[in-house]
C-alpha cells in the first residue's frame, strides 16, 4: 500500500484554556516504529486518545488505511485494525490470563450472543489467544488469574490483549512506565521483535528505549510538532535540544 498507514492532519484539541493539540500533523508509514516524545504536558496522551477514538478532536482529520476515522467510536476503530494499550493497566483481574486475551480475540470475532458452546474449548478463540500470549512470553502463566501477575507481567498481558485482534497498527502509551530495569529491557526486546511484523506508534518517556527502537521520532512541545525525523536528526536538532533533549543530552556528554 502506498501512502502512510495513519495520517493525522491539523489536529486541534483544547481543554478550557489548555491547548493539548495545536495544528498537529503526524504521519506513520506502514511498517515503521514511530515514537512520539515530549516533556510532560506536551499532549502525548491526548494525541493517543484522539487516535484511538477515546477523544474527538475539535478540528482536523485522522485517516487510517485509507478511511477517514475522525468520528468513528473506539470499537469501530479497533475493528479496522487499530489497537491501543493503556498507560494505566486495566485488566480483568479475576479472570485467568488466557481468558483475558480470549475476550480480546472474541471482541473481534463478531457478536457474542452465543449461549451454548463452551468458549474455552473453541480453538478459533483459544489459538489466537495462546499465540498472542506466546508473543509476549506469558505462555507459562496462561492459566493463572491475572491478579497473580507482577506489574511487568501485567504490561505484557496488556500488550498481548492489544495484539490479540491482529491489529495493523499498535498505539502504545508508555509501555515502560513503572517497570524495573530488567523488565524494561525485556519490553524493549519484545517491541523490537514486534516491529518486524506491525506498525507501532509509541509514546514513551524512556529516551534510551525510544532511541534504541524508533525508526522515526516526532517531538511534541505544548501540543505542537517541533521536529520529526530519524533518531540521528532529532538528536542533532537545535530546537529539540533547546526545548527538551538539552539537559538530558548534556548530562550524557
Amino acid at each position: 500500500m502506498s501512502g502512510p498507514l495513519l495520517q493525522a492532519d491539523n489536529l486541534a484539541k483544547r481543554f478550557g484554556g489548555i491547548i493539548a493539540s495545536d495544528d498537529l500533523t503526524l504521519s506513520v508509514a506502514s511498517g515503521e516504529l514511530h515514537a512520539v516524545i515530549g516533556p510532560n504536558g506536551a499532549g502525548k496522551t491526548t494525541l493517543i486518545a484522539q487516535l484511538s477514538g477515546q477523544l474527538t478532536p475539535d478540528a482536523g482529520h485522522i485517516r487510517f488505511a485509507g478511511n477517514d476515522i475522525t468520528l468513528l467510536p473506539m470499537h469501530r476503530r479497533s475493528a479496522l485494525g487499530l489497537a491501543r494499550s493503556f498507560q494505566i493497566t486495566s485488566l480483568f483481574l479475576d479472570l485467568s490470563v488466557l481468558d483475558n486475551v480470549t475476550l480480546a480475540v472474541q471482541a473481534h470475532a463478531g457478536h457474542s450472543f452465543r449461549f451454548w458452546r463452551d468458549a474455552r474449548s473453541q480453538t478459533e478463540l483459544r489459538q489466537p489467544a495462546r499465540a498472542a500470549l506466546a508473543r509476549v512470553g506469558l505462555t507459562a502463566r496462561a492459566d493463572q488469574p491475572a491478579s497473580a501477575l507482577s506489574h511487568g507481567e501485567h504490561r505484557q498481558l496488556e500488550l498481548a490483549m492489544a495484539l490479540a485482534g491482529n491489529p495493523r497498527l499498535l498505539l502504545l502509551d508508555e509501555p515502560m512506565a513503572g517497570l524495573g530495569p530488567e523488565e524494561s529491557a525485556r519490553m524493549v526486546d519484545m517491541l523490537r521483535a514486534l516491529k518486524r511484523e506491525l506498525t507501532i506508534l509509541l509514546v514513551e518517556h524512556d529516551m534510551e528505549a525510544v532511541f534504541a527502537l524508533a525508526d522515526r521520532i516526532t517531538v511534541l512541545v505544548y501540543g505542537r510538532v517541533i521536529a520529526s525525523g530519524a533518531p540521528a536528526d532529532i538528536r542533532a536538532d537545535r530546537q529539540v535540544r533547546d526545548a527538551y533533549l538539552g539537559e538530558a543530552e548534556a548530562a550524557h556528554e
Binding site: 480483568f92 475476550l103 457474542s112 450472543f113 449461549f115
Partner: protein, 318 residues
Amino acid sequence: MTPALNLRTIAIVALLAALLLLPVYSELVGNRFVLTLFTRIVILALAAVSLNLILGYGGMMSFGHAAYLGIGGYAVGMLAHEGIFSGFVQWPAALAASALFALVIGALSLRTRGVYFIMITLAFAQMAYYVCAGLARYGGDDGLTIYKRSEFVAPINLSNKVQFYYLCLALLLAAIYLVWRIVNSRFGLVIQGARSNDTRMGAIGFPTYRYKLVCFVIAGTLCGLAGALLANHTDFVSPATMYWTRSGDLIIMVVLGGMASPFGPLIGTVALLLLEEVLSGITEYWQIILGPLLLLVVLFARGGIDGLLKQLMAKVRS
C-alpha cells in the same frame, strides 16, 4: 489431586442423591412434611440459581429478584381465577410476564451502577408488590387461593406430591445445567468480563449494556418459572411472595452457598432453609442465631459453603 477433588464432588453427589431419594424416605417413614419442605427448597433453589446468573457471574446486585417469584405466581393464579387451568397457557404466560418485567427494569436499571442499581431494582420490586396488593379482584393484600393446580397432559399430574417434587427437581437440575452452559459460552465470558472490568470491555469493543440486559432477562424468566412452581406448590399466591425481605433471602442463599459456583445456590438454599427449620424448632428467636452464623460465613468464607469446600480441598492437597 484426585482424593481432594473428590471431596467436593462427593459432597455435591451426596446432596443430589439425597434429593433424588427424598420421596422414598418420605414414603418409608410416612413423613409427608419433609417432602413439602424439600419441594419448597428445590423451588427456591431454582430462584437462587437464576439470581446467581446475574449476581454471581454478572456482578449485578439485584435487590428485587423476588418480584419474578410473585409475577410468575400471579400469572398462574390470575389465569386459574379466570378459569384457565392449562399449564400450557399458564406457564408460558408466567415466563413471558417475567421476561417482560425483567426487560423493562433491566433497560432502566442497567444504566446505573452500584448503590443506584440496587435501589432501582428494589424500588421496582416494591412497586410490583404494591400493585398486586391493590388488585382487589385477585384478593388484594390477602392473596389469591388457587383451587386447581396447572393441568398438563395425561400422565403429568401436579397434584401428586411425589410427581410434583420430581418435576421441580428436574427443572432445577435443568436450570443448573443451562446456567452452567451459558456462563461458559462466549456470552458468559462477556458477562464475566463486564463484572470484572466494564470500562475495559467497552474499550475492546463490547457494548456491554446489551449483553447485561439479555442476561438480566434470562435470569428473570428463569425465576418466573420458579414463581409458577411455587404458586402450584402452595396453592396460593400473595403480595408477600415478592416482598423485599424475600429478595434478601434469595441473595443470602446465593452468598451462603457460593457466588459464581454452579451448585452454590442449591447448597445455600438447602443450608439456609434447613437451618431455619432446625433453629425455629429450638427457639422462637432463631434469627438471633442465624444472623451471626451468616456473618461468620461472609467474613471467613468468601466463596460461601462451596468456597469452604474448595479451601478444604486445597488444604488436603498440600
